[in-house]
Symmetry: none
Amino acid sequence: MPDGSSTSTTPRTPRAERTRAALVKAAREVFERDGFVDARITDIAEAGGVAHGSFYTHFASKDAAFAAVLAEVQEEMLHPQMDAADAGDDPVRAVEAANRAYLEGYRHNARLMGLLEQVATTNEEFRRLRRRRADAFVQRNARTIRRLQRQGLADRALDPNVAAIAVSSMVSRTAYTLFVIDQAEVDLDALIATLTRLWTNALRMPSGDKD
Amino acid sequence: MPDGSSTSTTPRTPRAERTRAALVKAAREVFERDGFVDARITDIAEAGGVAHGSFYTHFASKDAAFAAVLAEVQEEMLHPQMDAADAGDDPVRAVEAANRAYLEGYRHNARLMGLLEQVATTNEEFRRLRRRRADAFVQRNARTIRRLQRQGLADRALDPNVAAIAVSSMVSRTAYTLFVIDQAEVDLDALIATLTRLWTNALRMPSGDKD
Amino acid sequence: MPDGSSTSTTPRTPRAERTRAALVKAAREVFERDGFVDARITDIAEAGGVAHGSFYTHFASKDAAFAAVLAEVQEEMLHPQMDAADAGDDPVRAVEAANRAYLEGYRHNARLMGLLEQVATTNEEFRRLRRRRADAFVQRNARTIRRLQRQGLADRALDPNVAAIAVSSMVSRTAYTLFVIDQAEVDLDALIATLTRLWTNALRMPSGDKD
Amino acid sequence: MPDGSSTSTTPRTPRAERTRAALVKAAREVFERDGFVDARITDIAEAGGVAHGSFYTHFASKDAAFAAVLAEVQEEMLHPQMDAADAGDDPVRAVEAANRAYLEGYRHNARLMGLLEQVATTNEEFRRLRRRRADAFVQRNARTIRRLQRQGLADRALDPNVAAIAVSSMVSRTAYTLFVIDQAEVDLDALIATLTRLWTNALRMPSGDKD
DNA sequence: AATGAATGAGGTTTCATTCAT
DNA sequence: TATGAATGAAACCTCATTCAT
């Protein structure tokens, strides 16, 4: 979470806790409805059932409120991790599991992801946040790709660092396109299947089927 | 290009033409330096060497000026077209040529592309513009993928529409990551090679080399 | 009074009440000094001893502030009502009383009446307001004229509706001419006497004196 | 006409004369359509079929153009003159003739009269113009009233100066109400009859009919 | 903690008028 | 005389944030 900005003072009383929770919920609604720029503190306070000024009892700024909203979904929104442990020994299944986790989380929080994209274009703090999350993902995938290459399970001609960026871009931007821009109804299983196959193809990971 | 957004009547006199050109140049500089939101009309006018109000002789609004800036780079910025004609009979060469064209254009106009991304998150008009460009690209690629599948040159298990979105996302988002976010010095040839290989791998397009 | 034009929610705290009152007073001063068009929000705020933006805590717009100023003088500024009850049985005395009330109110708020005239030429909202007030007056007078005609106390050859407009125009426009345009010192009793006599003559209302 | 402001330089050539005439016509249309404040020089020039800047070849300012428009209707728009010469020896007929002339002129140029009223509330120059016209009218009527009083043909109890203002206010404001504000279809003969009777009644001028 | 009034910076846009060609 | 581009003043209103109660 971007530094200490999420809250000015750590809330103490249960009443404050309740108010804060109501404001986080309200903030998410208003942000998702109006976008970050057009969202007004007044509207958030009103939606949270408190007076205008009370917003600042709990958040130092509009940014801080947005950070608090993001913090709530952080767990759900980890990037897909091609972690073999997730799927026994089968790397393809691992990719699929990672994609499923990511896409389900993305779809569930699509508007928020769109917001993060919006805010990150403008605000250094959230640009860093977005980058940190992406980096963690990319680096872990780069390690995995290197391991697969060593094991003869992935195309050795690929630069693992660039490949990690590329496949992660493929999944995340496709999710953005379908869920945020198009807002289309999507057959998630089919989407996962296609992206997984593209991914494993791209790395030339061996699969049971014949070419 | 968002149609009516630049001032409707074509400028007449050479003097006007000169002033307008100076303003487009100035606008690009200011936008790239300050971002769309923080760019001030005043600064653009000043950078263009004209009086404050003269900006409005040529552009109806900040949006219109931005549209004019984008129009200038339109040709350069076409999406990669996997058009076989570009590379004789070799589909892999065609992909590579398309990627090269796209990535060179992107790198050359990286800041502007970052701006477009920024503005599109906020402004319906430019959201449509971005979408229109992406759609054209995606649809042509979808046709190409279908053709390759029919010819037995691409993985028939892939949904061509989703695959078209995915590979296009891979290239464009990787460009955004490297050129806009990271702003790193990049070995373009290596990047093109990797992306092309990932792309052709992803579709299981046959290539000369052995796995 | 143009309904929703003053800020919707009734102000709460005494402090707000005080500030609002100060702003209404300040607005009246500035409007009367500079005219509606040239009056600047900044000047009103300054004259009211509050910050620029505080004006908008209490009024949605310049129009709303003007409406609030008008609301303050509404009682004083009713049009003259030729209501017999005001003067026992003597209709002439009733006319005189009505004229006195109207002219005293008009003189007292002359600059404001000039302003209303100014604003009404430009602003639909206040055009309606002016019209509503005039209509109420005219219609009541039309009824009275009809009654007097029935009682044989007024010239039956007159169209009561047009006559009502005409006599009301006579009084109100004379007031405008003398108090707003000429801004002359006026002997109010003499003016009332003349207008009353013209009025009662015009309707051929019987009076004690001989011609 | 308000001083020399109507034209910067006296036009010479027939071409200039034609352009100027077209602009006066255009100005009247635009003023009547949009009101003085909202009328834009650009629109006037466009309606007149000339370039924006050419407006200033013929008029020093927006005010000057409005003055030129008013000058065109000046003859028609003289105030009613209770001039016995108009109607032989019958003073009532004279009043009627004067009212007819005034009301016909007013109705014919109603929108322009509304404009003059609008502009006069804001602009000193036109305030003076309006006042000069009204004064001339009022003073002549005051003389006539005095004469009638001397001849025993008018109520001697009336202050002739105030009475002159009052009856002139009655006619002019009634015209404004009906033609400018209400914009109603009006039976002109009936209106003239009523106003004439009110007027002659008001002064207690003898008429053939019995009370 | 909660309230809600007060603060004040900040930039867009319009359009009458000027002026070089 | 006509053109039309250039000028620049001017002020409104929003809203995040602060602060007195």
